[in-house]
């Protein structure tokens, strides 16, 4: 799993919903990367030096798919690229979701907002019984069709325009769903609620966290989250999201 920086070719670029883009890039990192890991994309404008971490959405032979939201100048630049353009990427980064945790267990795969994309490759790779629960803001339910191929899909929309009106936990309750292990990616409030939900029911929960990053490889100590136990790197209570994560056992970390 050697990390590297390379200039990847963009194979396709399309908009999935307002402000949401999907890009396939050609890279040998596809051979080594797994779901829950991420790549860091570099801007070509010298005024922006730090790379933008983007989760891996899908992997196929020699290609990786990234689905991202325009959040600022960097992602705006990426969205303007076309098939045939090149983009500098660093990866594969982070630890990824542990597939073995779901062995012989019923799993929830839960995505919220721009946390939806990384659940796709996980859904494709995870064997066994799994329920896919995705929360969107409104009826722009990007990747919905792809998820429908991978297992039973339950959708919640904040504005009630489709599926359960509310969030992913509302969908779980409405459909009276249950599981033994859950994997989740999404906004902090969702992860906090899922952590509580899982601990109440004694469910094993794996969540993917976000923080601003500089190096992306564990060297700069920018991207910490607070951990319950003393961490092995700095002997304090800080895990590095880029290197020790982004995926953590929910009990391991304190969510602000």
């Amino acid at each position: 799993m050697a990390k590297r920086k390379e200039t990847a070719r963009i194979l396709s670029q399309e908009s999935l919903a307002p402000g949401i883009y999907s890009m396939w890039i050609e890279t040998e990192m596809a051979e080594e990367a797994g779901p829950g890991q991420f790549l860091s994309l570099y801007s070509k404008d010298g005024s922006r030096l730090l790379p933008r971490p983007i989760s891996i959405c899908e992997i196929s032979k020699g290609r990786i798919r990234l689905v991202y939201r325009i959040a600022g100048k960097g992602t705006e630049e990426f969205a303007a690229y076309k098939a045939g353009d090149s983009i500098p990427v660093l990866g594969p980064l982070g630890n990824g979701f542990p597939l073995e945790a779901a062995e012989n267990k019923r799993a929830f795969l839960i995505g919220g907002g721009i946390g939806v994309p990384p659940m796709l490759e996980l859904a494709k790779r995870l064997p066994g019984e799994k329920k896919l629960i995705m929360g969107y803001r409104n009826s722009h339910m990007f990747l919905k069709e792809e998820f429908e191929h991978e297992g039973p899909l339950y959708v919640a929309t904040e504005d009630g325009s489709f599926g359960t009106s509310g969030n992913v936990l509302d969908a779980i309750r409405e459909h009276d769903l249950s599981a033994d292990v859950l994997y989740a990616c999404g906004p902090a409030p969702m992860l906090r609620a899922l952590k509580d939900y899982a601990s109440e029911r004694g469910i094993e929960a794996w969540i993917s966290l976000e923080e601003r990053m500089a190096c992306g490889v564990g060297a700069c100590l920018a991207c910490i989250c607070q951990s319950k136990e003393v961490d092995s790197h700095s002997q304090v209570h800080n895990k590095r999201i880029c290197k020790d994560g982004p995926v953590f056992r929910a009990e391991e970390v304190e969510l602000r």
Partner: protein, 300 residues
């Protein structure tokens, strides 16, 4: 062609080092760069005990740079000695340990602890803008800087580099002060105190409110200060601040730096350190420079 330089009696195979805090203890970037290619690895600051650092967000990108307020998170000298020094010993490079502390005693404790360790030099960080006590307080006052230099030198088994803060009115005076205190070398610049405001959330972009500005944005300030420091003192000067490529490194060397450190650039390009070495060699070939020492301070 000679690329090796001498820093207070320590020979570096080339003048390219890593900037403290941007390269960990080398492990993470050893996946990208053969550490044996570098003149020295300067480690992240280490204190007498583990420090938790500041709350997140700890960094923010700025135009041509970044601000950081890591707050010197580190595992403390015990783990460092057990884990990081043996790791670095695997490579044919110089080991420079960056030392931080809140009080003079903290610094001295770490320095004493390192006396019997196989490290080549010590870099004393009296210029971190991101911790409330200690650090920068020593680096903004000539008397305090001289005093702590003397205290460290008394106990140090290795040559001592004093790392200066750019957040001062007169860098030449600061350089003279640590030279008077016995510093064997000087390194600069540490980061410039900066601030970014998130206008949409209407809050500070880093939790610590202020952070240290680094990256190519600061390079002109860093080159100027290296030049002024090199004019002010006789001990060797190590230059840093915004070096992205060999051309940048050469600016520092021509301004008077005997060696350079590459920091923020690692985040932009993990191969940066190694590419700077190659680029310096290419420049020397192009202009027929036999010895890098011909370039040190050549612009006056």
């Amino acid at each position: 062609m000679n690329l090796s330089v001498d820093l207070a009696g320590v020979t570096l195979k080339n003048p390219v080092m890593t900037a403290s805090g941007t390269f960990g203890s080398g492990q993470e970037y050893s996946e990208f760069v053969d550490l044996s290619r570098l003149g020295a690895v300067v480690t992240k600051g280490v204190a007498n005990v583990p420090w938790p650092g500041n709350p997140a967000p700890r960094i923010a990108e700025t135009y041509g740079g970044m601000i950081n307020a890591i707050g010197l998170q580190n595992p403390g000298i015990d783990v460092f000695v057990k884990r990081d020094i043996p790791f670095l010993r695997q490579y044919d490079t110089r080991i420079i340990v960056n030392v931080c502390g809140k009080t003079t005693e903290d610094y001295v404790e770490v320095v004493e602890r390192l006396a019997d360790e196989p490290v080549d030099m010590l870099e004393i960080n009296i210029s971190c803008p991101n911790v409330r006590e200690g650090g920068i307080a020593f680096g903004q006052d000539t008397k305090a800087a001289e005093t702590i230099t003397r205290a460290v030198k008394e106990k140090a088994a290795q040559p001592v580099i004093m790392k200066l803060s750019p957040n001062v009115t007169d860098i030449g005076e600061m350089a003279k002060a640590v030279e008077a205190g016995g510093a064997d070398a000087i390194s600069l610049i540490n980061t410039i105190t900066g601030m970014k405001i998130d206008i949409h959330k209407r809050t500070f972009a880093v939790a610590n409110k202020t952070g240290g500005l680094s990256g190519p944005a600061v390079k002109p300030v860093a080159v100027r200060m290296v030049y002024q420091a090199a004019q002010a003192v006789k001990v060797p000067v190590i230059g840093m601040g915004g070096i992205l490529c060999a051309e940048d490194a050469l600016e520092f060397i021509l301004a008077g730096a005997s060696a350079v450190s590459v920091g923020t650039a690692n985040f932009h390009n993990p191969y940066a350190t190694s590419e700077v070495v190659d680029g310096i060699r290419a420049y020397m070939e192009r202009y027929g420079i036999e010895d890098i020492r011909e370039l040190i301070g050549a612009v006056r």
